[in-house]
């Protein structure tokens, strides 16, 4: 693996390989759309119009992108520490629980400028706590983080169903959801869409993750651990504590999906609001090469696909919104598992250097 990576020039490594990977994914998507019986270029045109054709659709694109930024950053940050956090889904769910419970408890007493930071903090703490347990199990008990985070997704889902059906359900309500948040627990919308102030939080997270990873000692130690745990250990890094730190930060980032979804849009705790964003974060992080700028751009693309895909499914009933899920899967496959696929081709095409 290392020999084939070394021999490509940096520009090919940073730009060409990822672009070819994503292009391959979209090529397969095009073939699937063709098989369904729709002209892929026609579909693409409708999708672009649906994603950015009006201020409202741009708003929705940015709103979806906000979720993808949170989960994408969560996966990317854990990747830098050499950890594969598949638990974004559960962490987002529990983060939303924290956010919602804080609001349900205090929205009658606190003004918005106190309530909002408190709820955001609660989302981060709950998300972090849900990620901390698998982190602790990996660091101290040796259980593999991939398996435990998967299991924690299911446990989170069962827990939330139980809480919403039995505990948090609004009195007199038939649907398992909490009462509506008071005005101080609702984030102001930014346009005629679901876009809300959470996007500012998302941008802030991008900057903060970048500063943390590349401009702090902890961030350096975290990346060192991801690169070479032995070397990091030798350099004096406490690997166990660093694992905990990485997982807590990752879980907190995923937990912010709850802020965007519950405080920004639903204004109550509802079932299944993470809706696959946690898994999509893997695609976002892989496509964005685990860099905050890349994650933000990939999140924008996936946001546009989500919104454009929804509009497209109105025009073309044969294409459902789940096409976006197919794209996510293919991006993870080609940008992640098959990332080395195009290397030999590029090696053949590039002129050899002494």
């Amino acid at each position: 693996m290392s020999w084939s990576q070394r021999s490509l020039p940096a520009w090919a490594e940073i730009l060409l390989v990822p672009l070819i990977n994503v292009a391959l994914a979209f090529l397969v998507v095009g073939i699937i759309v063709r098989l369904i019986g729709i002209d892929p270029f026609h579909a693409l045109g409708r999708l672009v119009v649906g994603a950015v054709g009006s201020p409202e659709s741009i708003g929705y694109t940015l709103y979806y992108a906000t979720n993808f930024v949170f989960t994408g950053l969560a996966v990317a940050l854990a990747f830098h520490a050499g950890l594969f956090n598949i638990g974004g889904e559960g962490q987002a769910y529990i983060g939303g629980l924290g956010c919602g419970v804080a609001i349900l408890a205090f929205d009658k007493y606190l003004p918005g400028w106190l309530m909002v930071p408190l709820a955001i903090t609660a989302a981060a703490l709950f998300g972090a706590a849900w990620a901390a347990v698998p982190g602790w199990l990996q660091a101290w008990r040796g259980s593999h983080i991939v398996i435990t985070t998967i299991m924690f997704n299911f446990v989170a889902s069962a827990l939330m169903v139980y809480l919403l059906v039995n505990v948090l359900i609004a009195p007199g309500s038939m649907t398992p959801q909490s009462r509506e948040f008071g005005p101080s627990g609702q984030l102001p919308a930014l346009s005629g869409s679901a876009l809300n102030l959470s996007i500012v939080l998302a941008l802030g997270c991008c900057v903060a993750v970048w500063l943390f990873l590349w401009h702090t000692r902890w961030g350096y130690a975290l990346r060192a651990m991801g690169h070479n745990p032995q070397a990091a250990l030798y350099a004096g890094t406490d690997l166990k504590r660093m694992t905990m730190l990485a997982m807590c930060l990752s879980g907190a980032l995923a937990g912010f999906v709850g802020v965007n979804e519950l405080m920004g849009v639903h204004h109550r705790i509802v079932l299944d609001f993470p809706a696959g964003y946690g898994f999509a974060g893997i695609a976002v992080a892989l496509m964005g090469r685990n860099h905050p700028v890349g994650v933000a751009l990939a999140a924008l693309l996936f946001g546009a696909l989500q919104q454009g895909g929804a509009e497209l499914s109105f025009d073309e009933p044969a294409i459902t919104r789940e096409m976006v899920v197919v794209i996510q899967g293919l991006v993870i496959l080609f940008s992640g598992a098959l990332e080395h696929l195009p290397r030999p081709w590029i090696m053949h095409l590039l002129p050899r250097r002494g």
């Binding site: 598949i86 398996i147 496959l333 598992a337």
Partner: protein, 306 residues
């Protein structure tokens, strides 16, 4: 039959019914994992197999074509997994996750495009399904017996044949296998294909035996429960089979216990019972109940020295 005997019989039958796809999936996963290839993608394979089984059964009118389509589609995903993880030495977990997401999306997209029922496939008539052989109440279709037979078969293949010996060796120390002049890649491909075969049977069971058609996300985490059963059984066929039965029993009991107050415990939340397989696996992995030791080379791509 008196009442308690009937309850025992029905609970046992229900347990076996819910355990069947878990057993098939777990036996498939065992081959893959023992060869050193992590399979997080059991869920996706089972889902796509369930979908194509229902599609083929509905269009051809034959459950056997459904079974064939299920195996073929699961094998296709297995080959993609092998191509990514064995040939291109990609990250096995990433590949598995990708296939799960791909299957979740593709089944709905294709189902909607072909049948216009929001991702569902048409309801299957009795002749298009695998029907119970002896007792309709027990629901003992042919795949239940296949699942029961698959356990000793898997055990025999893994621990009593030359193929199994090499398979275990390649999961523990691929270098030694390579040095003995045996192809690591070909061994692992065979393991992955066996995994696809069993996952295909499990998927077919869901859509053309247990139910009469495919509905979106119908696997509902059973692939992951099968994975949990493999870990719970410490990567050995009979203990994994036992874990599948226990997890199947949880599921059968969860439905029965809905709203029932137990003496001394009060009302047990159904969600707790549903989460038990996952919780138990977490406890096991953490070393609180025994120790689960994975094959040594699991998850590591094998690279020949150059």
């Amino acid at each position: 039959m008196d009442d308690s005997a009937a309850i025992v019989f029905l609970t046992a039958a229900a347990t076996l019914r819910t355990a069947t796809p878990l057993i098939l999936c777990a036996m498939g996963g065992l081959f893959s994992e023992r060869s050193g290839i992590v399979d997080v993608g059991l869920e996706g394979k089972m889902l796509i197999a369930a979908f194509f089984a229902a599609v083929a059964a509905a269009t051809t009118g034959s459950a056997w074509w459904g079974l064939a389509a299920a195996i073929a589609s699961a094998e296709f995903l297995a080959l993609v997994h092998g191509f990514a993880c064995i040939t291109h030495r990609g990250n096995q977990v990433v590949s598995g996750v990708a296939l799960n997401i791909l299957a979740a999306g593709l089944t709905v997209v294709l189902g909607n495009a072909w049948f216009h029922q929001g991702g569902q496939t048409p309801a299957l008539a009795a002749g298009q399904r695998l029907m119970p052989l002896l007792s309709p109440r027990a629901g003992d279709n042919v795949l239940v017996y296949v699942a029961l037979a698959s356990v000793p078969l898997t055990w025999w293949m893994i621990s009593r044949t030359r193929f199994g010996l090499r398979l275990r060796a390649v999961g523990e120390m691929p270098l030694a296998v390579d040095a003995a002049g045996i192809s690591v890649a070909w061994l692992r491909y065979r393991a992955v294909l066996l995994c696809g075969f069993f996952a295909g049977l499990a998927g077919a069971y869901l859509s053309i035996a247990q139910n009469a058609g495919f509905s979106r996300d119908m696997t509902a985490g059973q692939g992951f429960i099968a994975l949990a059963a493999i870990i719970f059984g410490k990567w050995r066929p009979f203990p994994a089979f036992g874990a599948c039965l226990i997890f199947g029993l949880f599921d059968a009991v969860a439905i029965r216990l809905q709203g029932v107050t137990l003496p001394g415990l009060g009302e047990v939340p159904v969600q707790l019972i549903q989460a038990l397989p996952y919780l138990l696996t977490i406890f096991l992995l953490a070393g609180f109940i025994g120790r689960a030791v994975a094959p040594k080379a699991i998850g590591l791509p094998y690279e020949k020295e150059h």
